[in-house]
């Protein structure tokens, strides 16, 4: 009786599976049920969330955004949070990202730390200002062959307050290159005074999950999600002379800072060194010329490391470090703001220090 045997077989599998499934459901409701837990933030604000979930996503539900690039898989190591109550031992998944120094301070990875009891944490005050925005792509414009200007109009909420130089995180939805949403950081190039608009300058990284998405899939009219603002790369309010150094899409935050200074009528001596390979890597030259007129004492110094023969380049040539070395006589009364690749930043920082710029007055934003 094959039919009967088949039915018994199916019945047995269903029976065992159902039994185990019920067991799991009961376990989930009892063993894995941690009730509601309280998160106390900066000894001041208190929120209540459902226990058992990671700190990062619980905070996100409360509209508090900790910067994180991987979306909570423990693979970027960015979502560090200082915990001031006892939160148990470090998990092996956290340890690769935590230095001994941070261990002493009880800094944890928010995406790995599961909430089982009330917890007190300390986060930078500015993170309260971080919101998630729904935005619409207004335009995509090629600035060079590999850098695109992306302009977004904020829909909900419809305005953002940020300091010029800060960055947002761009959410890449699931598509061919990623099975789950990921977040990537981009500096805002827009004026802080234009609160309804966010402008990004994105350089194509070959096989980059986010840049490929922006270059090949994104169209005007599309909806995107961003969150921000983050970061402490903004102009310090002093009277010192300012040196900006940037390469490639490192232009973005500097452009924002310059425009902001022009708007506010700041009168400081400013030199901006912009490094590129050849003429085809240069962009926004017109806007920089405009700014040279608008600002009190601003000089834009584009420098090419490999100008091509036909390009008829009359400006500075050489690596950005060589050009800086030629121009900067003394680092006295100088504040420097660097933005670009880690290699460029480390190299230019060395030149600045050699010329006497105090290390504490060199601010930078490394594009990983």
């Amino acid at each position: 009786m094959p039919v009967q045997a088949l039915l018994i077989g199916i019945g047995a599998i269903c029976g065992v599976s159902t039994f185990l499934a019920i067991l799991m459901v009961i376990a989930d409701a009892t063993i894995a049920n941690y009730g509601d837990v309280k998160i106390k933030i900066n000894e001041d604000k208190e929120v209540e969330v459902t226990g058992g979930k990671p700190l990062l996503s619980s905070l996100m539900e409360q509209r508090i955004f900790i910067p994180s690039a991987c979306g909570g898989r423990g693979s970027c190591g960015l979502c560090k949070v200082k915990v001031t109550s006892d939160a148990g031992e470090y998990l092996p998944t956290e340890l690769p990202w935590i230095t001994d120094e941070e261990k002493k301070d009880n800094i944890r990875l928010a995406c790995q730390l599961k909430l089982k009891k009330d917890i007190s944490i300390r986060i930078p005050e500015e993170l309260f200002n971080v919101k998630e925005y729904l935005a619409e792509v207004v335009s995509l414009k090629d600035l060079t062959y590999d850098i695109k200007q992306v302009t977004l109009k904020l829909i909900n909420p419809d305005d953002i307050s940020f300091k010029a130089g800060q960055y947002i995180q761009f959410k890449v939805p699931e598509y061919e290159m990623t099975a789950e949403p990921v977040y990537r950081a981009y500096s805002m190039a827009s004026h802080p005074s234009r609160k309804n608009e966010v402008e990004l300058e994105v350089r194509l990284v070959s096989n980059g999950i986010c840049t490929t998405y922006i270059f090949e899939h994104l169209k005007a009219g599309d909806s995107v999600t961003i969150n921000g603002p983050y970061g402490d790369f903004f102009l310090r309010d002093t009277d010192s002379d300012i040196i900006f150094i940037a390469g490639g899409s490192g232009m973005a935050p500097i452009k924002s800072i310059l425009n902001d200074m022009a708007d506010r009528g700041v009168e400081r001596n400013i030199v901006y060194f912009f490094g590129a390979r050849s003429v085809r890597d240069l962009f926004l030259l017109e806007e920089m010329k405009e700014l040279e007129k608008k600002l009190h004492n601003f000089t834009f110094v584009p420098a090419l490391s490999e100008p091509q023969l036909g390009e008829n380049w009359k400006g500075e040539t050489g690596l950005i470090t060589e050009v800086l070395d030629r121009h900067l006589k003394s680092g006295e009364n100088v504040e420097a703001y660097l933005c670009g690749s880690p290699g460029m930043i480390d190299a230019t920082k060395e030149v600045l220090i050699k010329r006497g710029v105090p290390e504490g007055l060199i601010y930078y934003d490394k594009f990983g």
Partner: protein
């Protein structure tokens, strides 16, 4: 048949002469992946010992009291896997609840074990060899200890190896497999001391 073989003979045989990893080459994936450090391999080893011992007992009960009476022996693969997966999941929840330190050292390895073929292998071998309940439990326990022994030994060797120059083409899994082969040869020295199958 288990005539004349006591459960402690089976227990020791499972550790040494019939080491599931080194004689059957089962459970290779986690053996290769998690044997970089002695500390983590001890954690994984402990988790395997525990899960093997308990699942072999659970699966024996399911086999004897569900599959055999219903004449559904051919479904053992599916049923065993489902039981192992559910058990591992349950244990993970419990460990997470009761002890942070145990979860940190052991709990995170549990999901790795669900798909470890050595665990299923133990349950299948005990059926093939027709073990009693107690024998099955000790076979599972012994196999777990044997597996843990092998991975900890391998981790010790690999930790030392970080300071030696391995040819580029062999670095990583390549050299590990060669070492596993040599370890298996060494374990052959135990063979013949106890016979269980």
């Amino acid at each position: 048949m288990t005539e004349g073989i006591t459960f402690y003979a089976i227990f020791f045989a499972a550790i040494f002469t019939n080491n599931i990893l080194l004689t059957n080459y089962l459970g290779m994936c986690s053996f290769l992946a998690v044997s970089r450090e002695v500390k983590t391999s001890v954690g994984l080893g402990m988790a395997v010992i525990f899960v093997m011992a308990v699942t072999s007992a659970l699966n024996w009960l399911a086999y004897r009291y569900i599959l055999v009476p219903l004449d559904l022996v051919y479904l053992r693969y599916i049923i065993f896997i489902v039981i192992i997966a559910a058990f591992v999941q349950l244990i993970e929840m419990i460990i997470e609840r009761v002890s942070d330190s145990l979860y940190a050292s052991l709990g995170i390895f549990l999901p790795l074990i669900t798909v470890n073929c050595a665990i299923l292998g133990v349950s299948l071998f005990m059926i093939i060899r027709d073990y009693h309940f107690l024998s099955s439990f000790f076979y599972g326990l012994g196999s777990g200890i044997g597996w843990a022994l092998a991975i900890v030994a391998m981790a010790g060797i690999r930790q030392k190896m970080t300071r030696s120059r391995v040819p580029k083409g062999l670095a990583g899994a390549g050299i590990t497999l060669i070492i596993a082969g040599i370890m298996a040869l060494a374990f052959m020295g135990f063979s013949g001391m106890i016979k269980i199958s």
